[in-house]
């Protein structure tokens, strides 16, 4: 299964990006093979609006079935939910630590957005 982790950089050692829609990158991590690739989020980072739902579309296209991020707003959350993509909010420092926490079942699945809409 592929998990998308919002990241400030392109490697597992990089810190998590707490923002979902405006994350610098996503690390698409395959839990079956332990392989990963980085997905650039530049377009959405600088979008005037709609970054959250566009990021949701991007991770969906990357075949992710779960997202690990710091925060998630209502529009992004509903987009991910429509795509059947689970959202896990984490406070870990690095992508690697977040994936470990996920694998050990220490991350709880979010049932709703934890941020209100903004423009």
């Amino acid at each position: 299964m592929i998990i998308a982790v919002s990241s400030q950089g392109k490697s597992l050692k990089d810190p998590i990006d707490l923002r979902f829609g405006r994350a610098a990158h996503f690390i698409l991590y395959d839990t079956a093979s332990d392989e990963y690739r980085a997905l650039d989020n530049d377009n959405n980072l600088n979008a005037a609006q709609g970054a959250g739902i566009q990021a949701a579309q991007a991770v969906s296209r990357g075949k992710a079935e779960a997202v690990i991020t710091g925060h998630c707003g209502p529009k992004a959350f509903s987009a991910l939910q429509a795509g059947g993509i689970a959202v896990y909010l984490c406070k870990e420092n690095t992508v690697e630590e977040a994936i470990q926490a996920y694998k050990k079942g220490r991350l709880e699945q979010a049932e709703e957005a934890d941020r209100s809409a903004h423009w």
Binding site: Q49, I53, A56, K75
Partner: protein, 287 residues
């Protein structure tokens, strides 16, 4: 003639200037309409004690996708071309986020199979009325609606095509202000002589210059802070149409929603001069 009153910083005195200038011109026998474009918190009508004669609910078009007709992932023109990022491809269908839609109609225009239907979204009210003899148009944005510009366009559309229209702009220098400045002949920029006031004043000057519009300035609460605003106005060679004194009595009248022309007759002379200076500037074709 179409005028717009802007300020950059909020609370500088746009509405005070707009209301009193409209009232002054009406009393001079001019045909004048005040357009309150601050649709997120309209308040000009309080100063005129206006009564509404017409209220019209306003809607904008929002796309609705007919999934039976949609070509799906092989097309995605609507998703890819939307300038406002309001459509995505998710779970094998196009998902619409109406709150992000600016109702431009591009998705419907582009769709090769006419799968984009239009439904509507309520954006608020346009109201017309009269107060102290002055005609007023005003917008009231629906609570929860994020985009003010489409409603501002409707407010301005409801103003008469002749006479003098005075548009009271929202604060700031972003899209709603630019919408208010569409098709105006002259911009009055109201400034406040404080560091914060000057900061936003400069941004507003840049905006008006970029739009190539004729600009005049008014200093409100003159003598309240420092002389940096006036120095900037001189340095940039901007016309100074009027100075409104810093006055506790004026502040008290405003807090009671009384036009200064009513509460303090000495303001009439200031507005007379403001109007004369503005006309001179317009005749000189000044920018």
């Amino acid at each position: 003639m179409r005028l717009a009153i802007i300020s950059g910083k909020g609370g500088t005195g746009k509405t005070t200037v707009a209301v009193n200038l409209a009232l002054y011109l009406h009393r001079e026998g001019e045909e004048v309409c005040l357009a309150d474009c601050d649709v997120e918190e309209p308040n000009a009508h309080f100063f005129l004690d206006a009564a509404w004669s017409r209220e019209n609910r306003q809607t904008v078009a929002v796309p609705e996708i007919d999934n039976a007709k949609c070509l799906g992932e092989s097309c995605l023109q609507c998703v890819n071309e939307c300038r406002f990022n309001s459509l995505i491809w998710m779970a094998e269908r196009v998902m619409v986020f109406p709150e992000l839609c600016h109702a431009c109609g591009l998705c419907s225009f582009l769709c090769p199979v006419q799968a984009v239907d239009e439904t509507t979204r309520d954006i608020g009210l346009v109201r017309r009325g009269k107060g102290l003899g002055v005609d007023i148009c005003s917008g009231l944005l629906r609570i929860g609606e994020a985009m003010a510009s489409p409603l501002i366009r409707r407010v301005l559309k409801s103003t008469p095509g002749q006479g003098i229209v005075i548009a009271d702009a929202p604060p700031g220098t972003s899209c709603p202000v630019m919408e208010t400045l569409r098709d105006v002949d002259y911009v009055i920029l109201v400034g406040e002589p404080t560091p914060f006031g000057l900061h936003d004043f400069k941004i507003a000057v840049e905006l008006v210059r970029k739009l190539g519009l004729a600009l005049g300035t008014v200093i409100n609460r003159d003598q309240m802070g420092d002389d940096q605003l006036e120095k900037y106005i001189r340095h940039e060679r901007l016309p100074l149409l009027a100075r409104l004194p810093y006055s506790r009595q004026a502040a008290a009248a405003c807090s009671r929603a009384e036009p200064l022309l009513e509460a303090m007759p000495e303001f009439k002379e200031i507005y007379r001069n403001m109007w004369e200076n503005l006309q001179k500037e317009m005749q000189a074709g000044g920018k």
